[in-house]
């Protein structure tokens, strides 16, 4: 047990990635403010990037594949976040709040 904790390997990073992904998922499910939901989605994406980089480091000596995929994922994540923020800003301009449940009530 102690040996597994001391010898840092791929499994440690996969555990970290899984915990971050689940944290982000929990954030998406429980937060009422939509800005925080977007931030939680970002946390989920970063957990995926950590996964790629860890696999690249431990299983691919050149790291080129992992870095390339990670850069792709990061760029897409940032662009997706910015677009989501712009949409949220427009929603705020229309409704004066960003609470998902209030917006749902207003629609009803």
């Amino acid at each position: 047990m102690i040996n597994a904790l001391v010898n840092i390997g791929l499994a440690h990073f996969l555990v970290l990635s899984l915990v971050l992904f689940l944290t982000g998922l929990l954030g998406v499910l429980i937060s009422r403010n939509m800005l925080r939901t977007v931030m939680s989605l970002f946390v989920m994406s970063v957990s995926a990037v950590i996964n790629f980089v860890a696999f690249g480091y431990y299983c691919d000596s050149s790291m080129e594949n992992a870095n390339m995929i990670s850069i792709f994922v990061l760029i897409l994540t940032v662009i997706q976040t910015i677009i989501a923020l712009v949409i949220l800003y427009k929603i705020y301009q229309a409704n004066e709040f960003l609470d998902a449940e209030k917006i749902k009530d207003k629609e009803n």
Binding site: I8, L20, L22, R32, M39, E64, F72, I79, I83, V86
Partner: protein
């Protein structure tokens, strides 16, 4: 060896704490600060894994630009001191159970399917692919992705502006009636 171990576990817990801070922070500005710290610590994790360029890339793109953009947006809508509420306790409990079950099933599936060896999982992936990736080959599709996203963002903006204007027009017409 010991320093390395301490450094890894520090990064491990700091990243998780910052992710939890993003979700459970009581104020909006605290949530933004937690996100910035999360980006910094995850960049340090990439650095730990010898991905210097990726680390710098994430720190500059996300840490400096995205965080600044989020803070500016929050300031613009005047919600920097907004108290953030969570969903009702029952929903939090149900969501937590769902997330734990999801994580548990994922780990069980992984262990059963790949005979508790992570390397065998990676080998199955590698066997299906061959050759190495050249960075230059990806510059063209990368630029295409950028162009497509910018165009779609511009179209989306026009659509949103139109829908907003139509909504305001109908509201004024209704008030006149």
């Amino acid at each position: 060896m010991v320093t390395n171990l301490i450094y890894f576990y520090f990064l491990f817990f700091a990243t998780i704490c910052c992710a939890l801070g993003v979700i459970f922070a009581p104020m909006m500005y605290l949530s933004a600060i937690a996100l910035f710290l999360f980006i910094c610590f995850s960049s340090l994790i990439y650095l730990y894994l010898n991905s210097v360029y990726l680390s710098l890339f994430q720190f500059i793109l996300c840490g400096l630009f995205l965080s600044a953009y989020i803070v500016l947006l929050i300031k613009k809508i005047g919600r920097i001191n907004l108290r953030l509420g969570l969903a009702p306790v029952s929903k939090i409990l149900v969501s937590s159970v769902f997330v734990l079950l999801f994580g548990g099933f994922f780990v069980l599936y992984f262990l059963q399917e790949f005979d508790s060896s992570l390397y065998s999982f990676f080998n199955t992936v590698v066997e299906k692919s061959f050759g190495s990736v050249n960075f230059k080959h990806y510059l063209y599709p990368l630029s295409l992705v950028g162009v497509f996203v910018l165009v779609s963002a511009a179209v989306l903006r026009v659509f949103l502006d139109n829908s907003l204007n139509t909504e305001q027009r109908t509201e004024t017409e209704e008030s006149k009636i």
